[in-house]
């Protein structure tokens, strides 16, 4: 880790009165005087309103006048004001990342209104920690990249074609690759389209013709992606066609690989000659050789069960369409539609159901608890309406089977480093993170690759994906301002722990001259969660703005209170998305809670290293509370799981050495539930008070090493 520039460090501390909001509960003048005594502090000033025009001007004058190079602002919540303060710093010629904010309003003044002395002690601790951290801050400019102004569309079905056409019409050069020999995807196998009744081939040929006439589109069939290199804005894709590899450089990728119809071998005697799927019926109808007298259709065949819990979305319409077609051309066929629920979409599906009934189609509803039983001659179904078993003889049984992910969806997902949902589809890549902190990937998913969807919805999704891709491409240049992980190449042993743990696949091992491979972070993929830092056995990887030295200094400073020793000290290591948000909300609501808690906000609970917790206990904490997002809610996919795992391991290790493990606790917090937060803090504070001050003579646990 680079040692920060210690010499010539000039920290400026600004304490805001917030009119009377802070000043009525805290002695801000005393706070400013006390801050002046802290190491490296060159200037400490109290302001009436720091965020006002006049306040900011005064701060900027002080920065220029006193040559300040680190700023600590103690005032209200950084969530609303940090951006303003940052830009004020920038205007004064100081890098925005050299600013540290300390929340003494929501985090102190407003929540300890009754106990002025304790509030004052806490505010002092917070300011001390802020100064300690600010002294170790380093400037950061962000990462800037140019975007290659072209796009690649993977998949030549209706989604891919629509997206390619939409992009090409906006003037973007597009390459459309299709793994099969012909364009069209699933639609190629269809006979007519619902609800228009239009010939599928007619519709498809129109689309293909429009695409071929568009000079910006290059169509490559029998082609597949075999390797993806590069990063955001500049992807280098290796595509294979007839054994030949070509490299394409593109700025955006649209994934439109579609889905496939499940062939449910073994289900309802599928595989025997009299049982086919809806898709197979399409080609039977297209050829016009339907020879059946008694037909049965079973809907939701193999979907909405335990294995495939979702609704496939298109089967109801398909079944209705086929039923109408058959009844219109072959009125003599006895057709029974066995369904679980009918959810047809479209303009007026009820009309089609009514029409089908008029034409003599029987509708029989079955329940999930009694699936139809199929023998060689008949379908036996428990009719929910008459509450009785009905036997339906058949000579053609059609199964409406669900759309399932493509076989190679997993391969593509890992090539592109995009997530899969629990069914194996490719969900929309949306991060619940601040838009200025990360850049868009430039990868968009549309159509049935994303979720089972009909043609209308697919077209809509494809246009939307194309619009988003176009907006991304036309920026020409993107800047990622967020703080990211950095690797110290001299320490990294290439063990791959960080590669494994990174939820965004932002870290890769890069081979170094034959001997070692070391981790390399892609700053455009890194979201700055810091999960990697605690995982590194040699501490070679650290998170900018939240490095171990910074956190250790902060923890030490926040706990080195002199006045508050009569009361227990609790350190809160809080995820800023949940626990810290809840704490601030408690402040905004003026809810009162015990003043023992000192909070250090972190990007994610997954950033917390067991060493930080041990360090806190070593430095006099009587209790440590780790706060994170509830399971499944982590903004960084699995940071809370990591925190839970690490804290549990540490508790085991501490328990084995007779440490009072009740002093360490992990809690999940909802960001909008302030009262639950207050309740939790009060309980934990009472518990720590009961335990009393920690016996510091017993240093046996000092040797505890986190596993």
């Amino acid at each position: 880790m680079k040692s920060p520039v210690k010499d010539n460090l000039k920290v400026g501390v600004f304490i805001c009165d917030c009119g009377t909001e802070i000043a009525s509960y805290l002695h801000t003048e005393a706070l400013a005087t006390a801050a002046e005594q802290l190491p490296h502090v060159a200037l400490s000033r109290r302001m009436r309103y720091l965020c006002s025009r006049r306040g900011l001007t005064k701060m900027q004058e002080a920065i220029r006048g006193a040559g300040l190079n680190r700023i600590v602002v103690a005032g209200c919540t950084p969530r609303t004001h940090k951006a303003h303060l940052r830009s004020a710093c920038r205007e004064a010629g100081l890098n925005g990342h050299l600013l540290e904010t300390v929340n003494i309003r929501e985090g102190c003044a407003w929540v300890h209104q009754a106990d002025g002395e304790a509030a004052m002690a806490k505010a002092l601790d917070l300011v001390r920690a802020g100064v300690a951290r600010a002294s170790l801050l380093e400037p950061y400019e962000g990462t800037k990249i140019q975007i290659t102004p072209s796009a690649l569309v993977i998949g030549g079905g209706i989604a891919g074609m629509t997206a390619a056409l939409a992009l090409a019409e906006r003037g973007v050069p597009v390459k459309l690759i299709e793994k099969e020999h012909l364009l069209g995807g699933l639609i190629r196998n269809l006979h007519t389209l619902y609800p228009t009744g239009r010939r599928a081939s007619e519709f498809l040929n129109g689309q293909i013709e429009a695409l071929r006439q568009q000079p910006n589109v290059e169509i490559l069939v029998d082609t597949q992606v075999s390797e993806v290199m590069g990063s955001v804005g500049n992807y280098h894709l290796v595509v294979t066609s007839d054994g030949n590899d070509t490299i394409f450089n593109v700025g955006a990728i649209i994934v439109a690989t579609g889905a496939q119809v499940r062939q449910p071998y073994g289900l309802f005697r599928y595989g025997t000659s009299k049982v086919i799927t809806q898709l197979e019926l399409e080609s039977v109808l297209a050829k016009g050789d339907l020879h059946a007298e008694q037909m049965v259709m079973i809907l939701c065949a193999g979907s909405r069960d335990e294995r495939t819990p979702y609704c496939s979305g298109i089967c109801c319409m398909t079944a209705l369409k086929q039923a109408l077609l058959i009844k219109e051309s072959h009125p003599e066929v006895k057709l029974t539609l066995v369904f679980r629920d009918l959810y047809p979409k479209g303009d007026n599906p009820e009309e089609d159901i009514r029409k089908a009934k008029q034409l003599g189609v029987d509708f029989i509803q079955y329940g999930p608890e009694a699936e139809p039983r199929v023998t060689a001659e008949r379908v036996e179904v428990y009719d929910l309406l008459i509450k009785r078993n009905t036997n339906l003889p058949y000579d053609l049984l059609v199964l409406a089977t669900p759309l399932v992910p493509q076989k190679d969806a997993t391969v593509l997902a890992s090539l592109l480093k995009i997530p899969l949902d629990s069914h194996g589809f490719l969900p929309d890549i949306r991060f619940r993170l601040r838009p200025r902190d990360h850049v868009e990937r430039g990868i968009y998913v549309c159509g049935a690759a994303h979720y089972p969807s009909d043609i209308q919805e697919t077209t809509f999704q494809a246009s939307s994906a194309a619009a988003r891709a176009f907006n991304f491409l036309r920026q020409n240049q993107v800047v990622s301002e967020g703080l990211v992980a950095v690797v110290d190449a001299t320490l990294c042993t290439g063990c791959g722990s960080c590669v494994e743990i990174c939820p965004f696949h932002a870290i890769n091992l890069k081979q170094q001259d034959g001997l070692l491979s070391i981790s390399v972070v892609d700053p455009l993929l890194c979201k700055g969660c810091g999960l990697c830092a605690p995982s590194c056995p040699v501490k070679a990887i650290s998170l900018q703005g939240s490095s171990d030295p910074q956190l250790m200094a902060q923890i030490k400073a926040i706990l080195s209170s002199e006045q508050g020793r009569s009361k227990p000290l609790i350190l809160g290591l809080f995820c800023e998305w949940s626990a810290y948000a809840a704490a601030e909300l408690a402040g905004a609501r003026h809810l009162q809670y015990p003043p023992h808690l000192r909070i250090i906000p972190l990007r994610c609970a997954g950033r917390i290293d067991p060493y930080h917790i041990l360090w806190a206990f070593l430095n006099g904490a009587d209790g440590v509370l780790v706060g994170g997002c509830p399971p499944g809610k982590c903004h960084y996919v699995k940071g809370n799981q990591q925190a839970e795992r690490r804290v549990a391991k540490l508790i085991d290790a501490l328990a084995a050495r007779d440490f009072e493990i009740d002093r360490l606790r992990l809690e999940w917090f909802q960001p909008d539930d302030a009262s639950a937060f207050v309740e939790e803090i009060s309980i934990f504070a009472a518990q720590i008070e009961d335990l009393g001050p920690r016996v510091t003579q017993d240093r046996r646990w000092r040797n505890v090493r986190a596993a």
Partner: protein, 235 residues
């Protein structure tokens, strides 16, 4: 720099300063609802109105948005100002009488009973959450929709928003506590699978940790020793 008088107090301010900022910087209190230091003035709640004395008559202006003028004479708590605020508070009380914030304002201005009644609502339509989401967070996941009596805050089409990043800034900034994140976000129970294809092998040196990647060098073979059996173990 320019000079003006607020409540008989001579004040010097920078050009472009609003009356509200000038007053606050000099310790003069003006009540506000839709004003937030981190946001552009919105001038919606009309609670911050002040009396601006003119040559012939005086008029009411929203101090949060009105810039100071050279030689202006401003009264922040005159009878006409209080009268205007009383009506504003009465209107707020119509649906928000139960809110502590509104009740405090009513007590302060001496409004006992509002003349108007609407169904109780926690939201006072100050628009702070909408503006914070758009201008501070930069995602615009919620907006004010409908007009008049139907006006309310919510995600587009009142369906859970995908744009929301669950930062809770709207909840934090809401002066009445009307917002819950659940109203805005989709329950994202279904966590994405980010299958890693990274292959862990046990360490060739100590044989203990699952550290060594498969393509790193085998130190034992470098040292001319018998290499350990390569047994991939769980990560």
């Amino acid at each position: 720099m320019m000079n003006l008088t607020i409540d008989n107090q001579e004040i010097e301010v920078e050009e472009g300063t609003t009356i509200l900022e000038a007053a606050r910087d000099n310790g003069i209190f003006i009540p506000t609802l839709c004003y937030h230091e981190a946001l552009e003035p919105y001038a919606a709640c009309r609670l911050c109105v002040v009396e601006l004395e003119g040559k012939r008559d005086s008029r009411l202006v929203a101090s949060c948005a009105y810039p100071c003028e050279e030689g202006a004479v401003v009264y922040t708590n005159s009878e006409i100002v209080r009268c205007s605020r009383r009506v504003t508070v009465e209107l707020l009380m119509a649906s928000g009488e139960h809110l502590p914030l509104v009740r405090a304002l009513a007590t302060e201005l001496g409004v006992a009973e509002p003349r108007f009644r609407l169904p109780p609502d926690d939201c006072i339509l100050c628009g702070l959450c909408v503006r914070a989401c758009r201008d501070i967070v930069g995602v615009a996941a919620i907006s004010l929709m409908n007009r008049g009596m139907e006006k309310k805050v919510g995600p587009p089409f009142e369906i859970a928003s995908n744009a929301c990043i669950e930062c809770g800034t709207c909840v934090l900034i809401c002066p009445t506590g009307a917002l819950k994140l659940q109203d805005i976000t989709k329950e994202q129970e279904d966590v994405h699978r980010w299958d890693s294809l990274f292959d862990h092998h046990s360490c060739h040196i100590c044989g203990d940790h699952n550290l060594e990647p498969q393509f790193s060098v085998d130190y034992r073979s470098l040292l001319g020793e018998q290499p350990l059996d390569e047994e991939p173990s769980e990560g």
